[in-house]
């Protein structure tokens, strides 16, 4: 009897020590799968915004992801204002170009070029001014808003900071924080 209870105690003591060890090793294993600090640190891209042409999609790279840069032409902005005023009922003069980034006097769409559905790269058609994702047929307009499902939301906008005619990706700014607060984009 005495032996049994002593064995029982030893079993429980071993179980407790092994349990602590198991949890600790699981944590170590989880940490070993984390992205490396060097991967996380290499995260800034600077774009010179004077080089882009209207309605011509350029694909840049940030954190290994494709970044769409699309300079808006006058007619694109006008049709945007017209569409938005139909939806919201406001006059075209009051339109807030929520998803676009103003650099100098120009407006740009700068977004992560990965479909928000499952991450394929949509293609841009300059004649129809729309993006089509060939994987599952999702579509976006020239400001990156969804026009055909399955994508659950518009193309994500990376953290950006406007600095004269330059835009730094990976660094945040009040403009970007406002986009996050307004729910225009998710944090990427």
């Amino acid at each position: 009897m005495k032996n049994n209870s002593r064995r029982g105690f030893m079993g429980k003591a071993f179980g407790a020590v092994a349990g602590v060890g198991a949890v600790a090793s699981l944590y170590a294993m989880k940490r070993s799968w984390d992205p490396l600090p060097s991967v996380k640190a290499a995260g800034f891209t600077t774009l010179d915004m004077s080089q882009y042409k209207e309605n011509e999609l350029v694909v840049e790279k940030w954190r290994g992801k494709p970044i769409f840069v699309l300079k808006q032409s006058k007619e694109m902005l006008e049709s945007y204002d017209k569409n938005m005023s139909q939806i919201t009922g406001k006059s075209t003069a009051e339109m807030d170009k929520k998803r676009l980034i103003k650099v100098g006097d120009d407006y740009f769409l700068i977004c992560v070029g990965l479909c928000t559905h499952l991450g394929c790269i949509p293609g841009y058609n300059p004649d129809e001014k729309s993006f089509l994702c060939a994987c599952h047929g999702g579509m976006y307009d020239d400001t990156g808003m969804v026009t055909k499902s399955p994508p659950p939301r518009g193309l994500d906008i990376p953290p950006f900071k406007v600095d004269g005619m330059k835009v730094v990706l990976g660094e945040t700014s009040p403009e970007y924080e406002k986009m996050l607060a307004d729910g225009i984009t998710l944090k990427v």
């Binding site: 989880k30 799968w33 984390d34 992205p35 490396l36 991967v39 694909v59 790279k61 954190r63 290994g64 992801k65 494709p66 990965l114 559905h117 499952l118 991450g119 394929c120 790269i121 949509p122 060939a134 994987c135 599952h136 047929g137 499902s149 399955p150 994508p151 659950p152 998710l186 990427v188």
Partner: protein
């Protein structure tokens, strides 16, 4: 200590130390198989042999493959394919076997469903088999990453994105799985480890469990007849082989089994030598490029049915439907409420359920391959709805099935 005597032969020497006669009797000569079976009962052996082929060809590929994003593509497409003597053979055996193994798995599964081989004590055979299916799927996916071509990269991107769970936006989890913001070096390395070590270990363990699960309930037969294996074995051992309903696993059953395996291997090597291209996607002969998506991304044929269940819906609904499709086969023994363990042809409505499910999965597979446009979108959508509907209907139609 046990008592040992001077050995009369090498056999006797080993037998005293390892009990090889007992082992042989338990595993082979007195492991009883029903007589009333057909060639579909050979699929298990074909799968074991195909796994062996994958293992052997994989060992040779492993000697030259480089798990590095700058070197992987060339190590496969140049070094192994052009420099290594008979490197092409190992690659084509590996690629064709990876594809064919799923065809046999599906035949093996649908044989089990048709003959009710997941009931009356055979539930663990079914469940361990489904675990093997999941492990083989993970093995196929991780292996598909390794050549680091366009399809490897983009399949890796899309499949790991599934773990963001749609509306839950678990991007941190996705980055954790990848070890980077996008599939890159850390991703390739860890999937290489999974493909050559962790998942194969799991598969070998599960194969042991699958075989072990067979021992007590034994193999099913063409009529779902409950056989008294002890009594029938006694009859056989007493010399009344003609009236006994069972035969030895070795050599009796194995002789026929290996006959089917032989036919399979002829077809298999015909594919390896003359039609290996069906298992090689041409898009994957372009090196991975994170800035260019291929026009159409589709998985290998054996994942198309579940891919098509994901595709016609919006993200969240699609993911739920996809998750449903992944786990529902596990529940088959419990969703089938009928006590009848006989072939589907004698089971009333279940007969139609079986063929409807088989045809629906073939339609889903076909629709998963074509671009999601127009009529194909509509067919895919209704086939996905039918798949879910059939599973919801299963407990009801089997509940009211007449006892045979």
């Amino acid at each position: 200590m046990a008592h040992f005597t001077k050995a009369t032969s090498l056999h006797d020497w080993l037998n005293q130390r390892l009990g090889i006669d007992t082992l042989n009797r338990v595993l082979a000569t007195e492991y009883w198989i029903p007589k009333n079976i057909n060639f579909l009962w050979a699929m298990g052996m074909i799968l074991a042999i195909t796994f062996g082929l994958l293992l052997i060809s994989g060992i040779f590929l492993l000697m030259y493959y480089q798990p590095n994003i700058d070197l992987a593509f060339d190590s496969v497409n140049y070094t192994i394919m052009q420099e290594v003597g008979y490197g092409w053979l190992w690659r084509h055996v590996h690629g064709v076997a990876a594809s064919v193994v799923f065809l046999i798995i599906y035949i093996h599964m649908f044989t089990g469903i048709y003959y009710g081989s997941y009931k009356k004590g055979r539930e663990m055979i079914w469940i361990s088999g489904m675990l093997l299916f999941v492990a083989f799927s993970a093995e196929a996916f991780s292996g598909y990453m390794l050549p680091w071509g366009q399809m490897s990269y983009w399949a890796g991107m899309v499949i790991t994105n599934l773990f963001s769970m749609g509306g839950l936006h678990l991007d941190g989890l996705v980055e954790w799985i990848r070890g980077d913001y996008v599939p890159a070096q850390a991703f390739l390395n860890r999937f290489f480890m999974l493909h050559v070590l962790l998942i194969p270990l799991a598969i070998i363990g599960l194969i042991g469990l699958h075989f072990g699960a067979l021992r007590i309930p034994h193999v099913n037969n063409q009529d779902g007849e409950e056989i008294d294996f002890d009594a029938e074995a006694k009859k056989y051992l007493a010399g009344d082989k003609a009236n006994s309903k069972v035969i030895r696993f070795m050599n009796d059953f194995l002789a026929k089994d290996m006959m089917v395996v032989g036919i399979f291997l002829i077809l298999f090597f015909y594919l390896v030598f003359y039609h290996y291209d069906f298992a090689m996607d041409p898009v994957n002969f372009d090196p991975a490029n994170g800035l260019k998506t291929p026009t159409h991304i589709y998985p290998e044929w054996y994942f198309l049915w579940s891919y098509e269940i994901l595709r016609p819906f919006s993200t969240n609904v699609g993911l739920i439907a996809f998750a449903f499709a992944q786990v529902i086969f596990f529940l088959l023994p419990f969703l089938d409420r009928s006590p009848n363990a006989v072939p589907a042809s004698r089971r009333g409505l279940f007969k139609y359920w079986f063929w409807a499910m088989l045809i629906d999965m073939i339609i889903l597979t076909a629709m998963g391959k074509v671009p999601p446009e127009g009529i194909f979108s509509a067919i895919g959508f209704y086939a996905a709805i039918t798949f879910i509907g059939l599973w919801i209907a299963l407990p009801f139609i089997t509940k009211f099935e007449k006892k045979v």
